[in-house]
Amino acid sequence: MNTEATATLDARGLNCPLPILRTKKALNVLEPGDTLQLISSDPGSVKDIDAFCKQTGNELLENNAESGEFTFIIRKS
């Protein structure tokens, strides 16, 4: 697991659309180039975070699924 992310957001236990909304909020306070690590337990977030990044121009660096948990690293554009 990448521990070098600028910030970490634990969205476990939250359901659609909260992981996206919290991610957006967490990215707002970061600087361009900073990275955000997101941990989610919502299976829907796998496709949603990908779509969110494509639409908002942020870069999805990593996307891991392990035992019902999903970890994403997003670089703010």
């Binding site: 659609c16 659309p17 909260l18 996206i20 909304l21 969110f52 908002t56």
Partner: protein, 200 residues
């Protein structure tokens, strides 16, 4: 002068240049375009409160401009005190499941006859309470939470003036963050320019 004009007026040459320029302009326009969405929210029950607020808050997270027009029973979603309920009666698609007990029990869909639902006092209160518990257990946001996220994200919440007059309500019953009290003629021009327009 005449020769130079003849060269640049070569129709094939011009078309290629034009196509290149046109593609560039269109790509630039698309990159600069801020998507927009308008939603007309017409329902005031707990289950039907979710779609407009989920879509509006998510669209705002994607960077879209969003406005939601609340009309008829949808106006309930803008009350200061949200006390939303569901009605399983006449709503055959709604699953009736227990929010407590072992997993096998939670997954059973209980078919309760309409005649029972209609005659049992407090049935809707009970069903609403169970639905709210299920949502809380599953980590689904409350309507209050989604509504405040929308307000934070500058989603425009506009309300139908006619509905207030029709049902003898008072504007003071509704949240002060309402952007405007308007009618169909004021909302439609916004919807006309939107990329996405939904009626819920």
């Amino acid at each position: 002068m005449g020769n130079a004009a003849a060269e640049t007026n070569d129709p094939v040459m011009d078309r290629n240049l034009f196509n290149q320029w046109f593609d560039d302009r269109m790509a630039q326009r698309e990159a600069e375009h801020v998507p927009s969405m308008t939603i007309i929210a017409t329902k005031g029950t707990l289950d039907m409160a979710y779609p407009p607020f989920i879509l509006a808050s998510t669209a705002s997270a994607l960077g879209w401009d969003v406005s939601v027009f609340f009309t008829f029973y949808g106006l309930n979603l803008l009350r200061k005190d949200l006390d939303l309920e569901i009605s399983p009666l006449g709503n055959p698609a709604m699953p009736m499941k227990m929010p407590m007990g072992p997993d096998w029990l939670r997954s059973v869909n209980m078919n309760i006859p309409n005649v029972l639902m209609a005659n049992m006092p407090g049935f809707e209160k009970m069903a609403s309470g169970m639905m709210k518990k299920t949502m809380r257990d599953k980590g689904v946001a409350t309507i209050e939470e989604l509504r405040s996220i929308c307000l934070e994200a500058d989603v425009k919440l506009v309300a139908c003036q006619m509905t207030v007059d029709l049902f003898s309500m008072d504007q003071a019953e509704f949240i002060p963050e309402i952007d405007d009290w308007i009618g169909a003629a004021s909302f439609l021009p916004t919807a006309q320019k939107a990329d996405v327009s939904l009626f819920i």
